[in-house]
């Protein structure tokens, strides 16, 4: 029996411990937002957060996430309560086919959590593990930058108003 937290809820499973987290989340817990792209950790469509860090879950056995905290795209935000990155994805019309975007957003969210004001090169480096065949890269980058700029502006405003 393996226990972990999935989007804040404690869960447990008796599945084979070598089963990749992606398939346990998709086929067993029925959260379909995280995608299968390559099965080899090469494209990032399956990216989730494991204890806050972006992980490629198609090659992460559930044994490796025992007692850890997992966040999927469903746990990041919802259509009614968008995460700032999801709002930016809408604002900048980022998605085309959309299939890779859950993974892109999870990778971007982990980046901004660790580094709220990344440089262009830092964004490139953090996002290089995520493939988009539709070619949304310029917009993904713009959307990430817009969130990081807003965050800075917000921080600056908070400091000016003495609310930091």
């Amino acid at each position: 029996m393996i226990h972990f937290t999935l989007n804040g809820d404690p869960v447990q499973t008796e599945l084979d411990p070598s089963t990749p987290l992606l398939w346990v989340v998709r086929d067993h817990f029925k959260l379909k937002g995280s995608k299968f792209g390559c099965g080899a950790g090469l494209c990032g469509a399956c990216t989730m957060h494991v204890d806050g860090a972006a992980m490629k879950t198609c090659v992460t056995p559930i044994a490796a996430v025992a007692n850890k905290s997992i966040t999927t795209i469903e746990g990041l935000g919802t259509p009614e309560d968008l995460h700032p990155l999801q709002a930016a994805w809408h604002e900048h019309a980022v998605p085309q086919c959309g299939y890779c975007q859950s993974g892109q957003i999870m990778a971007a969210a982990a980046l901004l959590d660790a580094n709220p004001n990344p440089s262009s090169d830092e964004i490139d480096a953090a996002m290089a593990g995520n493939i988009c065949r539709c070619g949304c890269y310029p917009r993904i980058k713009r959307a990430i930058q817009s969130v990081s700029e807003n965050a800075l502006a917000y921080d600056a405003m908070a400091q000016t108003e003495g609310r930091a």
């Binding site: 084979d16 089963t19 990749p20 398939w23 086929d27 067993h28 029925k30 959260l31 379909k32 937002g33 995608k35 299968f36 792209g37 390559c38 099965g39 080899a40 090469l42 494209c43 469509a45 999927t72 795209i73 469903e74 935000g77 919802t78 259509p79 968008l82 990155l85 999801q86 994805w89 809408h90 604002e91 019309a93 980022v94 998605p95 085309q96 086919c97 959309g98 299939y99 890779c100 975007q101 859950s102 957003i105 964004i123 490139d124 480096a125 996002m127 290089a128 593990g129 995520n130 493939i131 988009c132 065949r133 539709c134 070619g135 949304c136 890269y137 310029p138 917009r139 993904i140 980058k141």
Partner: protein
């Protein structure tokens, strides 16, 4: 292709009024006596005026998108067309993906298909008319219900406005469904457009940013089992013997069975099916293709070009005399390899067969094929097959081939279980169908004044139409037996080898310039590889040959690359104008030392595009820094989506130009996944600037036309940077 020509006139004539409302649609073959019921949701107290729209009692306006959404933004584009004339903001509509029905045919194709960058062009007047006629019925109903003259009414985003009062459209649907429309309502002049041409958001962005958009692979039905197919390394080889003992003993495995394309392993989870599939041992039959390698393809194509006895395409003037009298002639040969589409969502389908009924869930470019194919496999009537369209996780032509659907249906039929069939990424890269490889040879002549006088172009390679026939015939003509389907497909192979050029084999190789003397020759060389449409189809390779050759000719004639193109495109004014605008931009570009600009232009899918690539070569590596894309696609229904399609076309084409190439060894594809079939990633993606020339004409294609110019634009820049003329894709420096 066996297309039926549906003109706008024909469409308007067949707009019919039946029962309780307006039906705007098409009779696809004219042989069905009673129209099939529309595959739309039932609505309590709602109104379904036609196959595309529903007005619900709470004033929800629901729009059924007939074209497949594979990223090209068609849900946004088509809802904008209908919304413009219905007077409803597309972002306020509830978007549904349409099932299979004759009312949903693509007017450009005569069948329900999405491709050829056709959707906005095909539906530009059609869906506006649907919106306008529906609005006219609502206005007439409002006039009667309110007891006021229709001329005193206006509309605003789903409301009828009278005096200062706003009435939801839904207030009038009871009356509206008793009315008939006498004549098509007038369409708005462009000067009154509220949504067309505006920078609106995409209707699907929030669903796709929150993981809530449903793709085929996300479908989950009770009792569903998962299937993976063990496939022959050499295309079309049949299993001679199978040892599945260890696979059967793996956890979760319920069935192992032979199907048309290999050995299917069925399990309670995808992971179990995939693990077990690796344990299946198969002895495959030996086919002639097993002796073919990449070198064989190129050698056989070269031999065919040298032999020269192909099928003549367009021939104009006297090519030999023109070549003799030219002051400059130049000849070169260009190679483009086999490619995989590799959409991010691997191929998949869910099929459930219960009694004499079936449900099918998949994202597909040709819904017309679904009922026929599944009914054939399941041995049930086609009208008992319900098709549920999903979002497509990338198409690029790959989702026009329905073989995965046949596989899922075969497995569901044999096991009696609801089946989700999933191709692995390895299946996707190795098993095609592929973009055909091509060897192209062009010899051209220029006179002393810089006029292109002669263009002798030939191409050797496989044709995609026979495989397309093979895939679609059984669906479209269910009465054909398997042997007849195979016979017709073989007949089409023979036809293209002997009599006529498959249009997609040579398209784009000769049309854009003014040369008075032209000869096009095609040599079909068929190694029995499965082939199909790949984004921009023939243009994906022909533009590379044509625009590289034009650059070489300009240099040989001592002319500027833009001036040479301008001088020789006088008969194509829109292309000429795009070249002019792009050329002016290039003339004003200042680039850092070591950066070089390459130029290319191409007409495809009715659209004209020129691209300028800013390139440097560092340590033998080609780096593309910026791409400027200038296009004329007529009226840009959503300019931001036009830009995103150009960005996408450039990046998809750049991936192919820098990395794309599948290699054959003993008839099998060597590459298998993204480590050896690499994709462009964010850190290599150029800045892309898109310039839309608004010519105000009817919209033309945008899904594909951004792709063809990028490979030659980069190759032409690499020549300036290094002096090396790279004539093989992917571009690799010596």
């Amino acid at each position: 292709m066996n297309t039926v020509n549906f003109s706008r006139r024909r469409f308007l004539q067949t707009s019919a009024i039946t029962g309780g409302g307006l039906i705007v649609g098409f009779a696809m073959t004219g042989c069905s006596s009673t129209p099939a019921p529309l595959p739309v949701a039932s609505t309590e107290g709602g109104w379904t005026p036609n196959a595309f729209l529903q007005v619900l009692p709470d004033n929800t306006i629901r729009f059924y998108t007939a074209r497949s959404e594979m990223g090209q933004g068609v849900t946004t584009g088509l809802s904008t067309l209908v919304g413009e004339e219905l007077d409803v903001n597309p972002l306020d509509m509830e978007i549904r993906l349409a099932g299979a029905h004759e009312d949903y045919v693509n007017p450009d194709f005569g069948m329900q298909g999405t491709g050829g960058s056709s959707s906005i062009h095909a539906h530009y007047l059609h869906l506006r008319q649907v919106g306008a006629n529906t609005r006219a019925l609502i206005l007439e109903a409002a006039s009667q219900d309110l007891g006021v003259s229709a001329s005193s009414l206006s509309t605003d985003n789903g409301f009828v406005v009278h005096g200062g009062k706003r009435h939801p459209y839904a207030d009038f649907i009871a009356t509206a469904q008793t009315l008939n429309i006498e004549a098509d309502a007038a369409l708005k002049p462009a000067s009154e457009f509220q949504y067309i041409g505006q920078e609106t958001r995409r209707v699907d962005a929030i669903a796709k940013a929150t993981g809530t958009a449903q793709f085929g692979i996300d479908v989950d039905v009770p009792g569903m089992h998962y299937a993976v197919v063990v496939r022959a390394p050499v295309a079309r080889a049949k299993a001679e013997s199978v040892n599945a003992d260890s696979a059967r003993s793996m956890p979760g495995v319920t069935d192992v069975l032979a199907i048309g394309t290999g050995v299917a392993v069925v399990a309670k989870s995808f992971w179990q099916a995939k693990q077990a599939a690796a344990k299946v041992e198969v002895q495959w039959e030996s086919l002639p293709l097993a002796s073919v390698s990449t070198e064989t393809l190129r050698r056989d194509y070269s031999a065919a070009l040298n032999a020269g006895d192909g099928v003549e395409g367009p021939v104009e003037g006297d090519i030999d005399a023109a070549m003799q009298s030219a002051s400059t002639t130049h000849e070169a040969e260009y190679w483009a390899p086999l490619l995989s589409h590799s959409p991010m969502e691997p191929m998949n389908a869910v099929v459930r067969i219960e009694g004499d009924e079936a449900d099918v869930w998949t994202g597909i470019q040709f819904p017309s094929a679904v009922p026929g194919l599944v009914s054939r496999v399941a041995d049930i009537p086609a009208e008992n097959v319900r098709f549920h369209q999903t979002y497509l996780g990338g198409g690029f032509g790959r989702r026009g081939t329905p073989s995965h659907l046949v596989e899922a249906a075969e497995i569901a039929k044999a096991t009696g279980k609801p089946i989700q069939l999933v191709w692995t990424r390895e299946d996707d890269v190795r098993h095609g169908p592929f973009r055909p490889a091509s060897l192209m040879r062009i010899k051209a002549g220029v006179d002393e004044a810089g006029n292109l006088t002669a263009w002798d172009a030939s191409r050797a390679g496989g044709d995609i139409s026979p495989d397309t026939f093979r895939g679609l015939l059984p669906a479209l003509y269910p009465w054909m037996g398997d042997s007849m389907v195979e016979g017709v497909a073989n007949l089409s192979e023979w036809y293209f080898e002997t009599f006529a050029t498959d249009e997609s084999s040579t398209e784009g190789l000769f049309e854009d310039y003014d040369q008075p003397n032209t000869r096009v020759t095609h040599m079909t060389v068929d190694h029995e590889l499965p082939l199909t449409f790949w984004r921009a189809v023939g243009h994906s390779y022909s533009a590379f040959a044509k625009e590289s050759m034009i650059d070489e000719l300009a240099q040989a004639a001592g002319m500027d690359e833009v001036a040479f193109r301008l001088q020789n495109t006088q008969n194509s004014p829109r292309l000429n104008n795009v070249i002019r605008v792009a050329g002016e931009r290039m003339a004003n570009m200042r680039v850092p030392a070591g950066h070089h600009l390459g130029f290319a232009a191409h007409h495809s899918f009715r659209t004209d595009v020129a691209e300028i690539a800013e390139v440097s070569v560092e340590n033998g590596k080609i780096r593309v820094h910026k791409v400027t894309c200038v296009l004329d696609c007529g009226q840009a229904v959503n300019p931001d989506i036009v830009r995103s399609q150009m960005e996408g076309g450039v990046i998809y084409g750049l991936t192919a130009a820098l990395y794309g190439g599948l290699n054959l060894e003993n008839g099998a594809i060597k590459e298998s996944n993204f480590h050896d079939y690499p994709m462009l990633r964010m850190d290599e993606s150029p800045e892309i600037e898109v310039v839309i020339i608004d010519s105000g004409t009817k919209p033309t294609g945008v899904g594909e036309p951004g792709l063809p110019p990028i490979a030659p634009a980069v190759a032409n820049a690499v020549y300036k940077a290094t002096g090396q003329r790279l004539r093989s894709l992917p571009l690799q420096l010596a």
